[in-house]
């Protein structure tokens, strides 16, 4: 099926009707010097057969390693039914359901998704998704500055325990708007935000404090204390959370005494495969008081003329097709298919299933840390409580050890030196419910072996 339904004859008829010679004539008013011309580095178009071959070859290059890396994307079991249902024709077009009369099924699915995300995070309202976790945080920073009308500083605190990639993306997207980002240091013993570092900002106009829970090191932050500080200081709180962990942890809507203002994060753990890094989807929830500042689509439940319940896009006056340059964001179609998968995943596993996934991941990670730290020269770097990731300190640079493990088909963790130069002898490891005792033994024996040969060398 062609994706552009107009034939050359159709196009000719339309151009003749408006008196234009070529389609390019329609763009005449754009000054020539603003047109980019051909883009460098973009290869010519290929057909479906050719692209399919390229993608298979690239996927094969990833191999089937035994994976112990998390760091923002997590390998969970995805029941076969999730993608069998998601790829049905009824769901397979991710295009935005503007037309309520033709899109009740898609709209209902998004409404169910929003309900589940609001419930998981303990907030009042959810949007229909964003691109990914990192851009969701950038959008949350922009939203905080719009919504916090008593704050004029556009100053945001980004802790060093926040995913470094998220920090980069937030600076790239929001940094052009004269925001100030201040970094908060982490405690070298616990791996948490140093709560005492907030004293430097007390009484100052700080728009928002970002808290990642569990943080990038897998450690649980003192979220109640941090939230209370922010509340007292008139600072908004943006929570970045792992949705799986919320089956066990206190939802951000209940942190501190009154909960947080905006919650966002990466939706990939909910039924989306790792697939070499994407596509994933971001989520965002908030309080009703801030709903008009929230970016993205929102689906609402309503009654039709005959009083029957139905679903429709709502609060569209915030969006770019109505509010133009003043819109809360220019995000539109985004990640519909991945949201469908997440909704079906959550529906299949249910609250009890998600709790089992979270508990099993936590237990597997505890097993992994116990096993690895029995190796001489290997210890747990941080003392703070953890969910399903941990920082493991070695007695030599992690990069070489990881390379040796990769040769044995093991992805042994993330080299933290890439983002934290002082942690270049540390690994960030993760074990989810997908890892068996045998897998953990395989990794432990390989690491012991690799370290032994490294010492001998």
């Amino acid at each position: 099926m062609p994706f552009i339904p107009h034939t050359d004859a159709d196009v000719r008829t339309m151009l003749d009707a408006i008196g234009a010679r070529r389609i390019d004539d329609l763009f005449d008013e754009i000054p020539a010097e603003l047109k980019s011309g051909p883009l460098d580095g973009v290869p010519p178009a290929v057909n479906e057969m050719e692209i399919s071959r390229v993608m298979h070859e690239r996927a094969a290059r990833d191999g089937m390693p035994l994976n112990f890396i998390g760091a923002g994307a997590y390998e969970h079991h995805i029941p076969a039914a999730v993608w069998a249902v998601t790829t049905r024709g009824e769901f397979y077009s991710a295009y935005t359901p503007y037309q309520a009369e033709a899109s009740q099924g898609t709209l209902q699915l998004i409404y169910e998704y929003q309900t589940m995300m609001a419930s998981l995070t303990g907030m009042e309202v959810s949007n229909a998704s964003l691109y990914d976790g990192a851009s969701a945080l950038a959008e949350a920073c922009l939203m905080a500055v719009r919504a916090h009308r008593k704050s004029n500083s556009a100053r945001i605190l980004l802790p060093a325990t926040l995913n470094p990639t998220y920090r980069k993306v937030a600076r790239a997207i929001a940094g052009m708007q004269e925001f100030t980002f201040d970094e908060l240091p982490y405690d070298a013993a616990t791996g948490r935000i140093r709560v005492d570092s907030l004293a430097a900002f007390e009484g100052q106009d700080v728009t928002a404090l970002v808290i990642q829970q569990p943080n990038f090191f897998g450690v649980l932050e003192e979220v109640d204390e941090l939230t209370r500080w922010a509340r007292k200081n008139g600072t908004f709180i943006v929570a970045v959370v792992n949705p799986t962990s919320l089956a066990l942890l206190k939802p951000p809507g209940k942190w501190g005494d009154g909960g947080v203002d905006i919650v966002c994060g990466e939706g990939q753990p909910l039924g989306v495969p790792l697939s070499s890094g994407g596509p994933y989807f971001g989520f965002m929830t908030t309080r009703m008081a801030h709903v008009r500042q929230m970016p993205g689509r929102i689906v609402g439940r309503t009654l039709d003329l005959d009083g029957r319940p139905g679903f429709t896009l709502t609060l569209q006056a915030r969006e770019q097709h109505i509010r133009r340059s003043k819109a809360t964001s220019n995000i539109c179609t985004n990640q519909g298919l991945l949201v469908s998968a997440a909704t079906i995943y959550l529906t299949l596993v249910g609250p009890a299933g998600l709790e089992r996934v979270a508990s099993a991941s936590h237990e597997r990670t505890q097993d992994l840390v116990r096993a690895l730290t029995r190796i001489p020269g290997v210890r747990a770097k941080f003392s703070g409580p953890r969910f399903h990731e941990a920082v493991i300190a070695l007695d030599r640079p992690a990069a070489d050890i990881l390379a040796a493990l990769a040769e044995r088909g093991i992805m042994g963790g993330l080299d933290l030196g890439t983002h934290y130069p002082e942690l270049n002898e540390a690994l960030l490891v993760c074990a989810t419910e997908t890892k068996t005792t045998a897998d953990i033994d395989t990794y432990t024996n390989a690491l012991a072996d690799v370290l032994k040969s490294a010492r001998a060398a």
């Binding site: 009308r149 008593k150 008009r292 006056a317 915030r318 109505i322 509010r323 003043k326």
Partner: protein
């Protein structure tokens, strides 16, 4: 024909201004503006203490079909926003020149008021816009 009270001042962007006895001014949107927008569902008024430049967007009126900015006709500092509109935005539709006022502020320079349109000039402006 929409109502245009003769004791108020107006802007071409359809705000009205009322000079109050204490030297402050009250601002709202005209009957014509509320009718063009349709039923309002949300009104955002500025924070007290906010300093506004003349022509700066100072409030948002949102109907089921559009969200529009309200522009401050004069420079000044906000002393009060109409808090009743949070629960009852329809006041702007029902009583645009009375209970549907949006904000009050202290103008930086009182002479600015004289430069705004009077009722007759605003009426003429509406007629030209209609053509």
């Amino acid at each position: 024909m929409s109502k245009i009270p003769s004791d108020l001042k107006y802007t071409k962007s359809h705000e009205w201004v009322r000079a109050l006895a204490d030297g402050s001014v009250e601002i709202g949107i005209t009957d014509h503006a509320q009718e063009a927008l349709g039923d309002l569902v949300f009104v955002e008024v500025p924070e007290v203490g906010r300093k506004l430049a003349a022509g700066e967007a100072c409030a948002v009126v949102e109907s089921v079909k559009a969200a529009s900015d309200v522009y401050s006709p004069l420079a000044g500092e906000v002393i009060e926003g109409n808090v009743d509109l949070a629960a009852a935005p329809e006041l702007v539709n029902q009583d645009p020149y009375g209970n549907g006022w949006l904000l009050r502020f202290k103008p930086a320079d009182k002479s600015g008021l004289a430069k705004l349109l009077d009722a007759a000039a605003y009426g003429k402006h509406l007629e030209t816009e209609a053509h």
